[in-house]
């Protein structure tokens, strides 16, 4: 790309009249990745207009207030948890891990899907990524945040969580390297920190644009502080692109590592239903599936609400649906292998556990996961459905639910059937389990809504490159 040509564009650009070519609001298979009517200037105007808008959005408040209420519920649930102890949850002996761990895995998968879109497809220079990568990154950020609080809440003595750090202490104690949980903790720390940085590095030039367009002193100050003095010099651009590129190159393996480590949390234990070498890639595929589903769930309404139909087009939906279908097929393969290795291995407890999983008291969970994760996405073989927005929403909701059921199946159902029949048990989540789960959903959506409202929802500087490639004179699109 030509950074130099873009430099001038970060500054205030006079508002132009809307372009003539009317975009089609409904998504179509033959949509371009960006409509020709979108120009650099109109795009910047429209994106900044959301961020700097003075009047309220009705839909935004309608969405935000319930999400905020759920977040408040999360605060209450956490306060009561710290007061009373984790006995308020449904966990028991033998199901020592319950909603906290399964929700953690679920959220981290959602976050990881965002990272894949944002980082991996950045490295692959996929043009459809540009208009949705900010949403994917926000999803990654708030998904990681929702995931990140669980491992601490999950502890019996959460105030001692820092004992998982390596730090010099008077007890001369170190953390225990052989535990997958330790590596999980570190992988999560790495992932959360790098997610924040990745999101932020990509945001700096856009914050600078907003700062320059802000019409009040306060907004200028706030966006100015976060823009870190980005003025669009070629040196700054070089640093920004380098930092972002390095983060993207890091994030792609980190997302694989975080999910492999999460898989190893289970695979590393000798527990029936967990002790399987397929878990790391299985979990990565699960992350892709839920990540694509959530991205679709976010962009389908947002493109309408924010009138971005010309930038988030049928092409985007089509690509994402195809990716979702691919991940679904991968997941189906892992389900098949799970069943195969159980019987191929021949361990009695594993077999008993698997039969209990498939035909036992929680069989609906297993078959629900199969239906929603493996069978439902097969509808995307239909080209028509891949751009049919209501169908996409329904299928993606199904996949998100299905992925949650899969986590439930792995975490809870496995633990209900340990080796000794005398230790078999059953798990019943309590109100507080649900409150915490719903609370994190509220927190995630609140975060997404806040970022839609106050952070440029499309990566403007990358869009400018794309627009320059697609919609401008060939001379500008040359690569450096």
């Amino acid at each position: 790309m030509s950074d130099a040509t873009l430099t001038s564009l970060t500054g205030a650009v006079p508002v132009r009249a809307a372009d003539a070519a009317e975009p089609r609001y409904r998504a179509h298979l033959d949509d371009p990745v960006i409509y020709p009517n979108v120009t650099v200037a109109s795009m910047t105007d429209r994106v900044c207009a959301i961020t700097l808008r003075k009047g309220p959005y009705l839909w935004w408040w309608l969405a935000f207030i319930p999400c905020l209420a759920l977040t408040a519920l999360l605060v209450v649930a956490i306060a009561y948890l710290f007061y009373a102890g984790i006995g308020i949850w449904g966990i028991n002996w033998p199901v020592m891990w319950g909603f906290a761990i399964l929700s953690y895995v679920w959220w981290i998968a959602i976050a990881s899907g965002g990272t894949i879109i944002s980082a991996l497809f950045y490295l692959l220079r996929a043009d459809w990524r540009t208009s949705i990568n900010r949403i994917a990154e926000s999803m990654m950020l708030f998904g990681a945040a929702a995931a990140g609080i669980y491992p601490i809440l999950h502890l019996g003595r959460p105030w001692l969580f820092y004992w998982l750090f390596f730090y010099p202490n008077t007890m001369t104690l170190w953390a225990q390297f052989r535990s997958p949980l330790l590596w999980d903790f570190w992988a999560l720390m790495t992932y959360v920190l790098s997610s924040v940085l990745f999101w932020y590095f990509g945001l700096i030039p856009d914050l600078a644009s907003v700062r320059d367009r802000a019409d009040s002193r306060i907004k200028q100050r706030i966006y100015g502080v976060f823009a870190c003095g980005f003025r669009g010099s070629s040196r700054q651009w070089r640093h920004q692109r380098a930092a972002y590129g390095i983060m993207a190159a890091l994030m792609a393996p980190v997302v694989v590592s975080i999910h492999s480590i999460v898989g190893l949390d289970f695979a590393g234990a000798a527990t029936p239903g967990w002790h399987s070498t397929e878990f790391p890639p299985f979990f990565v595929c699960g992350a892709l599936l839920s990540g694509f589903a959530i991205v679709l769930l976010l962009i389908v309404p947002l493109r309408r609400l924010l009138h971005f139909e010309d930038m988030m087009t049928g092409r985007h939906l089509n690509v994402l649906c195809k990716l979702l279908l691919t991940s679904s097929i991968c997941i189906a393969y892992w389900y098949l292998m799970d069943a195969f290795t159980t019987f191929y291995g021949g361990d009695r407890a594993e077999r008993a556990m698997f039969l209990a999983r498939v035909f036992g008291p929680d069989k609906l969970v297993y078959w629900g996961a199969i239906l929603l994760n493996c069978l439902l996405p097969q509808l995307f073989w239909s080209r028509w459905l891949r751009v049919h927005e209501p169908a996409i929403v329904l299928i993606c909701l199904g996949v998100v639910l299905g992925m949650w059921l899969e986590r439930y199946d792995i975490v809870v159902t496995s633990l209900q059937r340990p080796h000794l029949p005398s230790a078999w048990g059953i798990y019943h989540p309590t109100f507080w389990d649900w409150a915490t789960l719903l609370g994190t959903i509220g927190m995630f959506l609140s975060g997404i809504l806040l970022s839609v409202r106050y952070v440029p929802v499309i990566s403007m500087h990358e869009m400018r490159t794309l627009i320059a490639q697609k919609n401008a004179a060939p001379a500008v699109t040359e690569r450096t």
């Binding site: 102890g85 590393g268 080796h419 005398s422």
Partner: protein, 959 residues
């Protein structure tokens, strides 16, 4: 008391007149000194008087005991901080004593062990005796004498009794009745005899709700007088148990369990063979080689057939297996024994006596001794006649000592109503129970650990019960209260016991007394064999079979944890999983699977059980191995005035007792949540990697039939370098599922009780559990017990997964849990194949129904959010290590809490590095196997496989 009282202000003037006091008061409270020295106004004087009374009242709280209370500024010479002091005494249940040793730390009782020198214990102890620790410290115990439900005091009681004494002196005790339980205490018996000599018209009645009337009547039928049977199970090759209770409720059960188990492991000697024939599963039936289910009427016919087969050589019309048993018994002449449980009618007992005599068992596998209990009577008849007398106004004064008939007497007999007709009633009870609340006077009874007494064991051996502490809550002992009926001044219980034994101890009394106290047994007091002869007409009393085929029979059994209800306020016992159902905090009706199916009932469904007009609403529990027409109700729950723990727990079945009407069961709406600690259904086949078992034939064919099968090389084999290698062997052949080990572990390791709601959520905390598996047909399965505690794996899966290293291996092979380091990820529990880890979901340790001084100070009380598990009693190992260091020898014998409690010596613990150690020898047994050996955890705890000895002549198991 007087010494303390003299430090109170008797009056304000007295205090005010003291110049030193005034000076002191002026210094601290200038206004007060002025007020005291001035002439008082009326209102001011009243105010000050009220204040001083309040203060005197507050300080009077510690004057319940008459002796001097001086803080231990200088600790008594025999108490060394951190080291235990042990004192022998006895636990008395229904009159029969079992020797115990109470362990004190800094003067506080913290643990109860068996007394190895006592014949009924041999070092073993049951759950009840161990749980006395909580009864002793029970905060619900009453401190206050009550009269007409109003607080009263000792002086008033003495005054009231003085008036009664004057009355008795005039009318020779007419109308005076005394109600107690079964009594074997020579001192108490002597006091009762003296009282009845002094007041010839007074009468004494005994009542125990867990009835042994049939045993006594059976002996009377067979021998013409009440004699006690002492079985010698170690000498019996063939045992037939008819609804047997030798391992669960019979006096001497701990000793019987030991004797029985000594013949159960084929690697240590020839095995015996046990046939159990019973209507409802018992512990004896659960470990039997053959278990046959019989309805009560069938049972009578079967015993009749056995008698016919053995006494008259008559062929029986009964199933084939009866003949096989007869043949087996005959073949083992002089080495066989037929035992009948106390719930069977007297005629069956008489028949069994005759069979045993005919088998030449007397003097070989059993002995007869004179009855241990004082004046054995038919208690049911006696209580009924007492109630009749009470109702007809012939009883003017009723003294109830440590008995709770308002709760335990069959409701149809109307004890509670009759009690209202008695003008003067006194109840001496440990807590304000149902009877105490209905009596005129309630006198709190001191705990057995708070006073002197004596008691006799099943074989007559006497033990002097010595106090372990000053009374915590005040109260009186039975001896003291009885002495107030015969004389004006209360007799010291110690004096009473001493004077009983002054004449009976041979040799120098002071020395003999000291030795008796130190050993916990009085030597030479075991009863001699009785010479009574079997009556010729013993068998002619044929049993009567009343029931028709389809009629239901209701069986009453004492609860395996709560007995007759007396332990209902004990949280350890309430939360002790019942051996066969694993239920806690409840006592549903036990139904056979067939009956439950016919009525469409699931576990926990509510039914209305009616006998004649009376009925109760109760949940049910499906009990495999139950006779199809029998319903078992366990007594002891549904207490109305047990205390804050036991009130309203479970269902009270006493109202249905002793009724003659038809038994009917109706399904009702509703469902109860029943808390059981197992959540699996019947297994068609117990997985062999968990519990290995076979028959004696299997063993003889290949002694290694159960041995470990995998001997693969290991990658990371790092044997711990320490001087000792702690290990345990668990002999499944010996385990009878009695639960003594669970309470021992709970007491030793400060394991919290969590309550029914938490057990329902599967959060019980027992470090040691006894898994029970059923195998085979639900109608009559084989049952197996398997104690499971931390295996202390050499390759422990829990250690690898803890992110903070809170569970680690020590140099002697212990898998230790560092509570302070635990952050509560619970990964260790998930990764434990044996699921022996327990988690503090709440701050259970802080919410116990016991004072802090009752905890074992050598074991930390775990905080909320911390994992815990069996430590192989690491505190006991540490103690042994200190002793070894001090005395300069290698660390010697260590006994874990479960091991020292176990009646059957299931557990052997010790140093595997020492080839001469008992545990090393047991691990060399061909039966030794590791649970889940394919997990390659190399557990230090291994099992000896279960071998059963079925009769090859009998095919299959059941009837």
């Amino acid at each position: 008391m007087n010494r303390q009282a003299s430090t109170f202000w008797r009056s304000l003037e007295q205090a005010a007149a003291d110049p030193a006091f005034l000076a002191r008061a002026a210094q601290e409270f200038p206004g007060l000194a002025q007020a005291l020295s001035e002439p008082l106004e009326r209102r001011q004087a009243l105010k000050l008087m009220a204040a001083s009374l309040v203060m005197a009242g507050v300080s009077a709280c510690d004057t319940k005991y008459g002796g001097e209370l001086i803080p231990a500024v200088e600790i008594a010479p025999n108490i060394i901080a951190g080291l235990p002091n042990c004192y022998a005494t006895a636990h008395v249940l229904d009159g029969y004593a079992s020797g115990i040793v109470v362990k004190h730390l800094m003067g506080r009782p913290v643990k109860v062990e068996g007394n190895a020198k006592h014949p009924a214990s041999l070092g073993a102890i049951d759950a009840y005796a161990q749980a006395q620790l909580l009864d002793f410290y029970d905060p619900d115990r009453e401190a206050q004498i009550n009269a007409r439900a109003q607080p009263s005091d000792r002086q008033s009681l003495q005054a009231a009794l003085a008036m009664q004494r004057a009355l008795f002196a005039a009318n020779h005790g007419k109308g005076l009745r005394i109600l107690t339980g079964t009594i074997s205490s020579p001192t108490l018996a002597g006091q009762l005899d003296a009282l009845r000599t002094q007041y010839p018209q007074a009468q004494w009645t005994q009542w125990e709700p867990v009835s042994r009337d049939a045993v006594r009547q059976g002996a009377r039928l067979a021998y013409g007088q009440v004699v006690d049977v002492i079985a010698h199970l170690e000498r019996a090759d063939v045992l037939v148990a008819i609804d047997g209770d030798l391992l669960s409720t019979a006096p001497g059960r701990l000793r019987y369990a030991r004797d029985f188990a000594s013949r159960r492991n084929p690697t240590r000697g020839p095995m015996n063979r046990l046939y159990a024939i019973e209507p409802t599963p018992t512990l004896l039936g659960s470990v039997a080689d053959h278990r046959f289910i019989a309805e009560p009427d069938q049972l009578q016919r079967i015993v009749g057939a056995l008698a016919a087969g053995i006494l008259q050589n008559a062929p029986s019309a009964m199933p084939e297996w009866v003949g096989a048993i007869v043949e087996d018994l005959k073949a083992a002449r002089g080495r066989a024994l037929v035992h009948v449980g106390a719930d069977q009618p007297a005629q069956i007992h008489a028949m069994a006596h005759a069979i045993n005599e005919a088998l030449g068992a007397r003097g070989a596998t059993f002995d007869l001794i004179d009855a241990v209990a004082h004046e054995p009577i038919d208690q049911a008849d006696a209580l009924r006649s007492l109630i009749a007398d009470m109702s007809s106004g012939q009883v003017s004064h009723l003294l109830i000592i440590d008995s709770n008939p308002v709760y335990t007497a069959p409701a149809s007999w109307g004890f509670a109503e009759a009690l209202k007709q008695v003008p003067f009633s006194v109840a001496l009870a440990g807590s304000s129970d149902e009877t105490a609340l209905s009596s005129l006077w309630f006198v709190p009874k001191t705990h057995d650990w708070e006073g002197w007494s004596d008691a006799r064991a099943y074989d007559g051996t006497a033990t002097i019960v010595q106090p372990q502490s000053l009374p915590l809550f005040g109260g009186m002992s039975a001896h003291e209260l009885l002495s107030l009926y015969t004389g004006a001044s209360p007799l010291s219980a110690e004096e009473a016991v001493r004077s009983t034994w002054a004449s009976r101890l041979a040799g120098d009394f002071a020395r003999g007394w000291r030795e008796a106290l130190a050993n916990g047994v009085v030597p030479g007091t075991a009863s001699a064999s009785s010479t009574v002869r079997l009556r010729a007409d013993a068998v002619q009393a044929a049993p009567v079979s009343s029931a028709t085929d389809a009629a239901l029979t209701l069986l009453f059994r004492p609860d395996s944890s709560l007995w007759d209800g007396r332990y209902a306020n004990n949280p350890w016992l309430q939360e002790l999983p019942r051996p066969l159902t694993k239920l806690v905090w409840d006592n549903p009706l036990l139904l056979a699977p067939a009956l439950a199916k016919r009525l469409g009932l699931q576990n926990g469904d509510q039914v209305r059980l009616s006998v004649g007009q009376a009925n109760v609403l109760a949940p049910i529990w499906i009990m495999p191995g139950q006779a199809p027409h029998c319903i078992t109700a366990s007594l002891g729950s549904g207490r109305r005035a047990a205390g804050s723990i036991g009130d309203g727990i479970g269902v009270d079945y006493y109202p249905l007792r002793a009724l003659s009407g038809a038994v009917q069961l109706h399904k009702e709406q509703g469902h109860s949540q029943l808390a059981s600690t197992v959540h699996h259904n019947l297994l068609t086949d117990t997985p062999s990697e968990i519990l290995r078992h076979g028959t004696l034939a299997d063993f003889n064919a290949n002694p290694q039939f159960a041995a470990n099968r995998i001997a693969e090389p290991q990658l990371y084999r790092r044997p711990p370098p320490g001087p000792a290698a702690w290990a345990m062997s668990v002999d499944l052949n010996a385990c009878i599922g009695c639960n003594a080990c669970i309470i021992a572990c709970q007491a030793e390791n400060n394991i919290p009780v969590v309550g029914k709601a938490q057990v329902l959520r599967e959060r019980e905390m027992h470090w040691l559990r006894v898994d029970r598996y059923f195998e085979g047909e639900p109608e009559n399965p084989q049952s197996f017990f398997q104690p499971v505690l931390c295996m202390h794996c050499e390759q422990a899966p829990c250690e690898n997964v803890c992110p903070v290293g809170a569970t680690v291996h020590d140099s002697e092979g212990l898998n230790v849990m560092v509570y302070n380091r635990c952050v509560g990820t619970r990964f260790c529990s998930n990764n434990c194949p044996y699921k022996v880890r327990r988690f503090n979901f709440y701050g259970f340790g802080e919410e116990q129904h016991r004072p802090p001084q009752s905890f074992n100070p050598d074991v930390s009380v775990r905080a909320r959010g911390v994992m815990e598990k069996c430590s192989y009693c690491i505190q006991r190992i540490a103690e042994a290590r200190i002793v070894a260091d001090r005395e300069g020898h290698p660390v010697g014998e260590v006994k874990t809490a479960c091991q020292s409690a176990c009646p059957t010596q299931v557990f052997t613990f010790g140093n595997l590095a020492d080839p001469d150690s008992e545990v090393a020898k047991r691990k060399a047994s061909p039966l030794d196997f590791a649970m889940l050996e394919q997990q390659a955890t190399k557990p230090r705890t291994t099992y000896e496989a279960l071998v059963r000895n079925p009769n090859p002549a009998i095919k299959g198991q059941g009837t």
